[in-house]
Amino acid sequence: MLQLLLNGAVTGLLLSLPALALSLSFSVLRFANYAIGSYLTCGAYLVYLFNVLFGWPLWIAASVGALGLATLVVAIDYLAYRPLRKRSGVTLLVASMGVAIALENLVRLFAGNSPRSFDVAVARPLRFGGLRLNYEQLTILITVLTALVLVWIIFRLTRLGRAMRAVADNPDLAAVRGISRGQVVASVWIISGVLTAIAGVLVGLDANIEPQMGWNYLLPVFTAAILGGIASPMAAVAGALTIGIAEELATLVMPPHYRMIVAFLIMATLLLVRPWGLFGTRWVTR
């Protein structure tokens, strides 16, 4: 039971980075970026490139790869999303579907289809009494928590964070208060690019690096972000933890292959009771 909780929490933390990235970009740009999964894949492959082909240590490769992905993400915004910025959220959502298809196959074109791994040996787990914690879980735990604290600090305590929250709150007012939307949008993409790349590395450590890896995470990531209340970034983390633990505990009462159904039922019930998300605030449209 304790093991299940631990595993669920780690899975949830893993989900929380892309979920945070997703709701961050949603809160500022008002569209759900379907391409978040393929961003994750691209991030993992970039890091793979530096780690395995260039032979750099993983943490250096991950840092460079994260910056690389951030650049890519900003470039995609410039090419694909910027011309559509005045359009409805669903138009942008459809555009991001196109971006997702293109990116995933760009990866395929250069890297092929076979699964790959980072240049990191798999090790036996640490044991604390009956509880097992493996090194990947430990890495996930430390990395994600650090990243979350950093994002929280940026978000709450810095000038940039205030600018992001201001644009998310009221873009027109932010503009007349001297905040350049373009810079905030770019910063948001950079942060979400970095977060997604880190998530890509962690997912790659946890399972494989393959062209579909991000796609596989898409539904849980969206569920987590929406469960938290998609417009409130930090709540996405809570949503992700809820999903991770709920799916894990679901296996106590159901065959594991149906665990998604339990997660879905929990989500549906929560949304019926709190239609604006678990921790989000009511959506004001008028």
Binding site: A102, N113, Y258
Partner: protein, 305 residues
């Protein structure tokens, strides 16, 4: 080549019906049904299961339409309170759960093995060489009927009501109409159309299995509606044609660029599909059509402040 065109046109027609259903639900009604593929799958499965039990294909089709309409309407009752994003994820989750159920409940659905040997309508009456042509004709009639019905709805007071619920449900309630009822009807009619599309899918492939149904069906439908111009049924017809043209036409790439490996070409093809979609959205901002009105007063003077 003719046979290939016939098959592709059938595909266009089925996709068009799906797009039309979404245009009613999301285009007119503002209901972001990401679970569209689930209802489509349900249509295919109900129709498929009934035909292999010996029920005549046409009766199976009607059965599928009715049951999907009913189930779809029931789902709408649960989701009526949810706003756009949440409705999207709940319907998507519902569809994914449905697919899991179909994959594992072998006693009912034959699981991942799928259902083979689905009988087409009028199969005994047309010679085998004309079977595909006959199915195309049947599908085109279905498209025409669905299109006609949806146009009739769009220009009717009901269509107006549906668009009004999309704009502001609270106003509709204040004017004495039940939003729940409107959404219920929209989900039911949309469900029936999706049941029809799913049944035609089953007839076209004659074999169905869970892997044929994925969110990509939903994605294509959204692409069709967005490219077509939200709310315009005519636009949906044109855009589905364009969409399938791009998707299928890109298969011929392989023949034009011979010195690359097929894996690379397959990847390039899908890259172009994705990029083409984004480009289409950028260069064709209003889509192919415009939303109909329920009543045009007989005055043409139009001034605005």
């Amino acid at each position: 080549m003719t046979a290939y065109l016939i098959a592709t046109l059938t595909l266009v027609a089925i996709t068009a019906i799906t797009g039309l259903a979404l245009n009613l639900q999301w285009g007119m009604g503002g209901l972001v049904n990401f679970g569209l593929f689930g209802f489509y799958m349900l249509g295919a499965y109900i129709c498929g299961l009934l035909t292999v039990q010996g029920v005549p294909p046409l009766a199976s089709l009607v059965g599928a339409m009715c049951s999907v309409a009913l189930l779809s309407a029931l789902v709408s009752l649960i989701t009526v309170r949810l706003s756009e994003d949440y409705l999207a994820i709940v319907t998507l989750g519902f569809a994914e759960c449905l697919r899991l159920f179909i994959s594992y409940e072998e006693w009912l659905t034959r699981g991942t093995l799928g259902i083979a040997g689905i009988e087409r309508p009028f199969q005994g009456l047309v010679p085998a060489q004309l079977a595909d042509t006959a199915l195309l004709a049947f599908t085109l009639i279905a498209v025409a009927l669905v299109y006609g019905a949806l146009q009739a709805l769009a220009f009717s007071p009901f269509g107006r009501l549906v668009r009004a619920t999309r704009e502001d449900p609270a106003v509709v309630e204040a004017l004495g109409k039940s939003v729940l009822t409107v959404r219920f009807k929209v989900f039911a009619v949309g469900g029936a159309i999706l049941g029809l599309a799913g049944s035609l899918h089953a007839f076209y492939y004659t074999y169905i299995d869970p892997t044929q149904f994925s969110p990509i069906i939903t994605a294509y439908a959204f692409m069709a509606v967005v490219i077509g111009g939200r709310g315009s049924n005519r636009g949906v017809l044109i855009s589905t044609f364009t969409l399938i043209l791009v998707l299928e036409g890109s298969r011929f790439l392989v023949d034009w660029v011979p010195h690359l490996g097929s894996s690379e070409l397959a990847a390039i093809r899908l890259i172009l599909v994705g990029a083409g979609l984004v480009l289409l959205l950028i260069i064709k901002p209003d889509g192919f059509g415009k939303e109909p009105r329920s009543a045009e007063a007989e005055i043409r003077s139009f001034t605005s402040t």
